[in-house]
């Protein structure tokens, strides 16, 4: 419940504008004011006069140049990230291309032997390809 003492404390701290009063007490304070207008009139007027004077203190808008300096000082991590991602992608691409090339080269190297093996008669003897130095047949 709002008391006269608490109301005067509120106005003395936050001023005469109900919008500045603490949210949790605003409704009770406004109701108290509506019910006791004469009781608090002098106090409210004095605080409202101070509020009006305080409102005359304005500050400058920041200049466009100052805004620009601050914006220019912000990190540009995304641009750096894009560069790294591009480099990583390019590296992966090169790696894949190299792997493919190696695969093709190996294919060309092995192809004649593999193909000839397909046409060997099934004699049970090791082919020169399977036992290149003859160790298996010697044992």
């Amino acid at each position: 419940m709002m008391t006269e003492e608490r109301f005067l404390t509120l106005v003395g701290a936050y001023g005469a504008d109900p919008q500045r009063w603490p949210l949790g007490e605003r409704a009770a304070a406004t109701a108290f004011l509506d019910a006791n207008p004469e009781l608090v009139a002098a106090c409210l007027e004095a605080e409202a006069a101070l509020d009006a004077v305080l409102a005359a203190h304005l500050t400058r808008d920041p200049s466009a140049a100052f805004r620009g300096r601050l914006v220019g000082a912000a990190p540009r991590q995304r641009a750096v990230g894009r560069t790294w991602r591009w480099l990583a992608g390019a590296g992966l691409g090169l790696g894949l291309a190299a792997s493919c090339a190696a695969g093709v080269a190996a294919g060309f190297t092995l192809a004649p032997a593999s193909v000839s093996r397909l046409f060997e008669p099934a004699t049970g003897q090791s082919s020169s390809l399977a036992d290149p130095v003859g160790d298996v047949s010697a044992s």
């Binding site: 701290a13 500050t59 995304r78």
Partner: protein, 201 residues
């Protein structure tokens, strides 16, 4: 309260202090940390004016405030990639970093007193702002600077930055009652300093 910015930064990056709902800034900070140029632009557009206003009202010097705002954003860029949703609200963390830098400068001023007080900021020409309002603004600035720093901090956070009392108290490391005491004493001092201007009709 200690103002070790690095320690607080680590705490804020990992704790849930001051978090009671999803932080609307989380996604923006995460994208900025990943180097998203649009998010960087949006974060500067959303927060720079707020950081600059906080520093200017704490220091009473537009040039120093710009230095503080710059250093604050440099720290944002350093930490954004590590920002974890679920910790402190980004706006609260941003306020703490800015305040720490302001207190560093206020401390240096005390250690090396200057011959002249910092220049009162010139709000610059504006067609909708008359000479009277400019004079009043300068008077308010001077009155704010004459307050003890903690009272000034409480008033700047609650009145100008429009933080809630619980968030402001947590940011300052005090109870809500202590915050209200700082606010009340600060407003009384301002009323006294600006009595000729702050007269009820």
């Amino acid at each position: 309260m200690a103002y070790g910015s690095d320690a607080w930064t680590r705490l804020a990056l990992t704790s849930g202090a001051g978090r009671d709902a999803v932080d609307p800034d989380d996604e923006l900070v995460r994208r900025a940390g990943a180097g998203d140029a649009a998010a960087v632009q949006a974060l500067v557009a959303a927060k720079l004016r707020r950081v600059l206003a906080l520093a200017e009202r704490m220091l009473g010097d537009a040039s120093e405030a710009e230095d503080v705002a710059q250093e604050t954003f440099f720290r944002v860029w350093r930490h954004a990639a590590r920002w974890r949703p679920g910790g402190a609200r980004f706006d609260t963390w941003l306020h703490r970093v800015t305040l720490n830098l302001c207190y560093d400068r206020l401390r240096r001023r005390r250690e090396r007193p200057v011959a002249e007080p910092p220049e009162t900021p010139d709000p610059g020409p504006a067609p909708d702002r008359g000479l009277h309002a400019m004079d009043t603004g300068r008077r308010v600035q001077a009155a704010l600077q004459a307050l003890p720093p903690r009272q000034r901090e409480a008033i700047v956070l609650c009145h100008y930055q429009e933080l809630g009392n619980i968030e402001a108290a947590a940011l300052m490391g005090v109870s809500v009652e202590a915050l209200e005491s700082l606010l009340s004493r600060g407003r009384r001092a301002l009323k006294s300093a600006l009595a000729d201007l702050a007269r009820p009709d």
